[in-house]
Amino acid sequence: MKPAPVALYLCLFGTVPCSNSFSSDMPPAAEVCAGCHGVYGQGLEKLGPRIAGLSATYISEQVRHFQVGERRNVSMHTLAMEIEGEPLAQVANYFAAQSVRPVTILRRGEKILFTDPAERLAYQGDWPRLLPACVSCHGPSGTGVGDIPRLAGQQADYLRNQLRDWQQGRRKGDRDGVMANIAGKLNDDEIRALSRYFAELE
């Protein structure tokens, strides 16, 4: 178990303000989230990933996963236990509605020769290992599809930790173990390279 970031506790117990300014349309229940994810959900390095623009369903589902231990993070578990029902829906809708920096979209087929193995994996997968292309579910340039989360512009550290957590069974709750299966086939170098690739997309 990782210790909760100090800043979170300071924020939770009111020692420091969670953020200097709150967005006027932010639901009260989201204020505590802003301490680590930012007022507009853009994420704060080392504290919390970007949650802006994720689908509301996905956000609510992740909170539930923290509640029941399918995702493990001490601070998120503690905070997730405090919220449900309408406030959760409001929080999820609020962050889902926040805009994210757009990235240049690369659709499948627009590029065939890849020099970056991570990009090749993202666009072609590695089918002899039964690894589909990341973009077939996460969308062109990893911009997210339906309730499947956006990867583009997400923190590299966060992406890497998630892939490792899927791989090692610390993160669950994916339908039919789809991500556990995929992450389980990736080696450390690939995980690092893919995380950096999606994080750095512009």
Binding site: E110, L131, C137, S141, I148
Partner: protein, 374 residues
């Protein structure tokens, strides 16, 4: 001949000048072929002895095709056609409103861009045509078969046989198949460029241009039966397939990607997660509307990446569920669902049938080839 050193861009006129590999361990050849760089300048200049018999196949069986990595598509005019074919295959929305009338792309039903065995691979189809098809009661060339895909599976209209699109898709299919065959039979070098006219016909014919040795190793009557072709047929299910049970399977295993309403999800204008029924999916004439075909596809290929294996019963049931929903009309429809059912739908499907007292499927079918502006 050496196997190392940089490889210059292979000019198209050297494509046919390949060299036969001899006595190389299969593993070494595989590893060698996996590399992006293949022929040395020396190898590229050697002329293939087309009369020399090939070494016997590695096993006494049909060749196992492993398509070459896309990096090995040659530079030049022929390679450009292959690349265009790949591009259209993985994003068929480039042809939206011209030849494609729904949200699907070829790659939605042919995994790994048509490369994967048991996922109706393009390379196996290429060597299965020309062939007689009951569907239109004539001998179809490969490009004519492709036209069928556009008419039925993408609910559109076949691109002309002599047009750039049909040529490109044929070139891609040919390159996948020929490269895989050359590797299997240990023939070195680039896939030979052949004319557009030859490309669109397909590889199952006596006059198909291929090295004599390869022709002997794989006579015409064996070409349609490459291992991994189509979707491997399933046994009949233990219990009669049931859309009701299928709905449960759908909710548990398919819904996240294909949506509660079966309409899939798009991002940046591409339905990477395709609609399975409704106006934006394949029509009532497509192969996939057959419950057995869909069951085979699903069993073999879904969920994407195969984190779990559905049982055969589940695959049949969910195929029945998906194909018990309304979709675009069979393009052969002339105004009478029952007549069409009797003429063309003597197989495992629900066209022209009513389930649980509902409307007769096909009677409220969606439009064929709707344009986006309509």
């Amino acid at each position: 001949m050496t196997k190392s050193g940089p490889c210059p861009a292979i000019s198209p006129n050297l494509n046919e000048k390949a060299a036969v590999k001899r006595k190389l361990p299969a593993a070494l050849i595989t590893a060698f072929n996996a590399a992006a760089i293949t022929a040395t300048p020396l190898a590229a200049q050697e002329i293939l002895d087309r009369q020399e018999p090939l070494p016997p196949p590695i096993e006494e069986m049909h060749p196992v095709i492993v398509p070459r990595p896309l990096e090995r598509i040659p530079t030049g005019e022929f390679g450009d056609k292959v690349r265009l074919g790949y591009r259209l295959f993985v994003n068929s929305q480039l042809l939206r409103d011209r030849y494609v009338g729904n949200d699907l792309s070829c790659v939605n039903c042919h995994m790994d861009a048509g490369r994967r065995a048991n996922s109706a691979p393009l390379w196996a189809a290429y060597f299965a045509y020309p062939a007689y098809r009951k569907k239109n009661d004539k001998v179809n060339s490969f490009a004519e078969r492709l036209q069928g895909c556009f008419t039925y599976s993408t609910n559109g209209e076949g691109p002309p046989v002599g047009g750039a699109e049909a040529i490109a898709l044929s070139a891609y299919a040919y390159w996948l198949g020929m490269g895989g065959l050359m590797d299997f039979y240990e023939l070195d070098g680039s896939v030979p460029a052949i004319s557009d006219e030859e490309l669109v016909k397909g590889g199952r014919r006596e006059d198909f241009p291929m090295p004599v040795a390869l022709k002997k190793a794989l006579p015409v009557d064996k070409r349609a039966a490459l291992a991994g072709r189509g979707y491997p047929p399933l046994q009949n299910p233990p219990e009669a397939y049931s859309p009701e049970r299928g709905q449960q399977v759908y909710v548990e295993h398919c819904l996240l990607c294909h949506g509660a309403d079966g309409q899939g999800f798009a991002s940046a204008g591409v339905h990477t997660l395709p609609p399975l029924w409704g106006p934006q999916s394949y029509n009532w004439g497509a192969g996939m509307h057959r419950i057995n075909t869909a069951a085979s596809f699903i069993y073999e290929n879904m969920p994407l990446g195969k984190s779990i294996q559905l049982t055969q019963q589940q695959a049949w049931d969910v195929a029945a569920y998906i194909n018990s929903r309304e979709r675009p009309q069979d393009p052969r429809f002339l105004g009478d669902v029952e007549k069409l059912r009797k003429k063309y739908h003597h197989h495992q499907c629900y066209y022209g049938q009513s389930l649980d007292g509902g409307e007769i499927l096909g009677s409220e079918a969606f439009a064929d080839f709707p344009r986006r502006g309509d």
